[in-house]
Amino acid sequence: MAAVELHEIEKSFGSTAVVKRLSLEVKEHELLALLGPSGCGKTTTLRMIAGLERPDRGVIRLAGRLVDDGKEFVQPEQRGLGMVFQSYAVWPHKSVFENVAYPLQLRREQNVEAKVMEALGWVRLSALAQRRPHELSGGQLQRVALARALVGRPKVLLLDEPLSNLDVALREELRGEIASLRATLGTTMVLVTHDQGEALALADRVAVMNKGVIEQLAEPDVVYREPGTPFVAGFVGGANVLEGVVQDGRFIVEGQSFELPPRTAVTPGPVTVVVRTEDVAVGGTGPALTLQAKLFLGSTTEYRFALGQQVLRSTGPAIDGLKPAQAAAVSFRAVRLFAR
């Protein structure tokens, strides 16, 4: 039985459709990432699962239990969920301890103190139990929010961009903590993020969203290696996405003609070609393009070539003597072709 089940969910704000006929199943004990660009409807989807937003159409079930079908509606507090908000949402008038104790007190549980201290232990905040929120850093606040969401042992934990307000180092650290918490507690998690690195690193499966629909739902390595759509390729892999036509076995874009690598399944006509940056070779036999910029990225160097109005990016080892404004031959080692 799926821990979370969305069936043909639709949601509009005013006249703009934000979520369109979206169906999704989150398996038990799984961490599913909802990945997509800003404004694609990730938060809205998550909030509908939580019951903070009502879908216009569709059915939502939690562990088989109907929680929203347009008529029946289970209030958010009765869904047995935990949620971590992007803004932390730690109550400023309560201490760390009181924040984490709140869900237990509402349920009149026994041994509140022990349970709270255990939850604070999970996020390594035991020493700060008596602090007030304004005495905490952003990372510590987010840990409080995590402990508060987990202290009641929810079946499903919803996380809305939990790391996006933190700086890079903290983000890495908390990312590791979420992973290890999941390993110890086995909680099902739905993680909303626009950071592909975060999604690929943490998730068992990634649902890539664009404009209110899921474009691909698969394991991280599949999403990365075999993107199902040009959008997924561009968003997740950072690949070049070029729209052109196939003619006589060659790919024509912006007036330049590229040879397609051998064994590419070729269908003549308008196509979208996806080329990963590491598959763009500099030197060799392709058309000569002008180098616009050269970016040193540490282990590799990125070259940006002008391709008409578009930019073609190539990453690889530094090439001696190639400077901006010079031209160089560019060719493709491997491509994915999508008919348009």
């Binding site: 908000f85 992007q86 869900p103």
Partner: protein
């Protein structure tokens, strides 16, 4: 620095020295307990405390729901409702009193006639608290709606996800978060109410039994002449202690209970849908607002059009001739002139003080606004009623004869409202872009010219709002005027007060109507000004 010292010296001479003189006139700390605990003083003190506490309660009971409705719910016409419930502050409290007397005096009020005689009585402690509370409604509404607006919805949603119902979330999360703001709003109402004179006089003195307060007792003592003056001084010190005490307590509470709402990006504010109750709640909210705000004002207009006071009948403009009587015209002229000069002085002195950028001077200039008007006026009266003789540069002697002149009145208006000018100028200055002035300097302008061309245009909006507000409060000022008005003269406030309490409530209603029209028109002008400033 020199200018700062001169201003400080002037403030000390006109406010703090007179307060000292008042203090010296009120006996010594050793005799205070006996004087304060005298039955009459105690009676007045308890009247002040009870009516002020009641007013705070009334303002909270009405203000909190209104603030929540207009900020966090989908109540119908939220903007209009907010405008309506923040209106009362702009209208002098004694006008509300006149409205309520017309509505709910036990014999012939408009409401009394509907409900039946002797069921409603606006006179007495309850009436005083109610009228003061509703006329100070904006203090609570503005403070708490600002707090409601600062609560990120995710704080409440986190509570729902933790298992709290909507009601539980409101009582355990929302309410505690706005409590500091509500308390501070209530404290301001308390201070406002304890300093108020017109309301307790009109509703307390002729109540049965009479309900004295500190301000009305002070007035009564002053009317007795020299002998009453020292008793009035004692009561003034009591009043000052009450007002300043509550303000200090509030400042301390605010610091102790301060809740810092965390930073971070969230969804912001989500408006709660009232659902099926929307129609009912909206109707109730509007009906309440209309009853406590529109009705009393309407009653004033209607009273001015009644043929005989206290009787139904065909409406007539025959009383409106009173506006054209010499005495009325003179009072209007004096009030307009005094208010205009006071407002301009408040604006320019306030700007001068803010430009010195000295915190201590700003604090010094802010302080008089916390002193109840009655106390300030009495201090000036006690100090300057006799001529003050200065001997400067050896033999040249100046005689400062302020007693019984309009100068003293003007002085009291200016120092009492100076805080408005200082605060708005210093806020505007801190937001102004200094590079515009610097650019003018580099283009060849002198210091003064650079200020006029580069900085002043950025302050104009805030400054004219402060000037307008000062003008509006001064044009209808009563509390200080009643003590400081030269014998035989009137300002609008004192004229209205006299007509209403002794002579001719019908004529009072007519003048009040005219005053109301002016205030409402000025408010329209101000909101247009604000809108234009915001558009820029």
């Amino acid at each position: 620095m020199k200018r700062a010292l001169v201003i400080a010296a002037a403030l000390i001479a006109t406010v703090f020295l007179p307060l000292l003189v008042l203090l010296l006139n009120s006996g010594s700390p050793a005799t205070w307990p006996a004087l304060w605990l005298a039955p009459q003083a105690l009676n007045a003190l308890s009247g002040t405390l009870l009516s002020s506490f009641g007013a705070s309660l009334v303002a909270l009971v009405f203000g909190l729901p209104f603030a929540w409705l207009v900020t966090r719910s989908d109540v119908a016409g939220a903007r209009g409702l907010k405008t309506l419930v923040t209106l009362p502050s702009a209208i002098p409290p004694y006008l509300w009193t006149m409205g309520w007397i017309a509505l709910a005096n036990p014999r012939s009020g408009w409401l009394t006639l509907v409900i039946g005689q002797n069921r409603l009585d606006v006179y007495g402690l309850g009436g005083i608290a109610f009228v003061l509370g509703t006329s100070a409604l904006p203090l609570v509404v503005l403070a708490t709606s600002a707090a409601f607006e600062r609560i990120d919805s995710s704080l409440e949603e986190a509570a729902r996800l933790s298992g709290a119902s909507a009601l539980r979330t409101f009582t355990t999360i929302t309410l505690p978060l706005i409590t500091p703001a509500a308390l501070s709003g209530a404290a301001l109402v308390f201070v406002f109410a304890s300093a108020s004179f017109g309301v307790p006089y009109l509703l307390g003195v002729s109540a049965n039994p009479p309900t004295p307060t500190l301000t009305t007792r002070i007035y009564g003592e002053v009317l007795m002449g020299e002998a009453g003056l020292s008793r009035a001084a004692v009561l003034s010190v009591e009043l000052l202690v009450v007002a300043v005490g509550v303000l200090l307590l509030n400042g301390w509470l605010a610091k102790a209970g301060r809740v810092r709402l965390p930073r971070g990006k969230g969804l912001g504010q989500k408006v709660l849908s009232l659902g099926r109750l929307r129609g009912l709640v909206s109707t109730a909210a509007w009906a309440t607002a209309i009853t406590i705000i529109v009705l009393p004002l309407g009653a004033i207009f209607l009273t001015g059009l009644q043929p005989t006071w206290g009787q139904w009948g065909s409406l007539t403009f025959k009383h409106w001739g009173v506006v054209m009587q010499a005495r009325t015209l003179q009072a209007i002229g004096v009030s307009l002139a005094l208010a205009l000069v006071a407002a301009l002085l408040v604006g320019s002195i306030g700007l001068m003080i803010a430009m010195t950028k000295r915190r201590w001077l700003e604090t010094l200039a802010d302080a008089p606004s916390a002193i109840p008007g009655t106390v300030l006026a009495l201090a000036l009266l006690v100090t300057f009623s006799r001529d003050v003789r200065f001997v400067a540069v050896e033999r040249v002697a100046f005689v400062l004869a302020l007693g019984n002149t309009f100068w003293l009145l003007l002085l009291s208006y200016v120092v009492k409202h100076l805080a408005l000018g200082v605060r708005s100028s210093s806020d505007a200055l801190s937001q102004a872009d200094p590079t515009l002035g610097e650019a003018a300097r580099l283009s060849g302008a002198g210091r003064f010219r650079a200020f006029v061309d580069g900085i002043f245009p950025q302050l104009r909006g805030a400054l004219s709002a402060a000037v307008l507000l000062t003008f509006l409060t001064c044009v209808s000022e009563l509390t200080m005027s009643v003590l400081l008005i030269p014998t035989g003269s009137d300002v609008l406030g004192t004229l209205l007060f006299e007509l209403q309490s002794y002579a001719d409530p019908g004529s009072a209603a007519v003048i009040a109507s005219a005053l109301l029209l002016v205030v409402l028109a000025a408010l329209l002008v101000e909101s247009a000004m604000v809108r234009r400033a915001e558009a820029r």
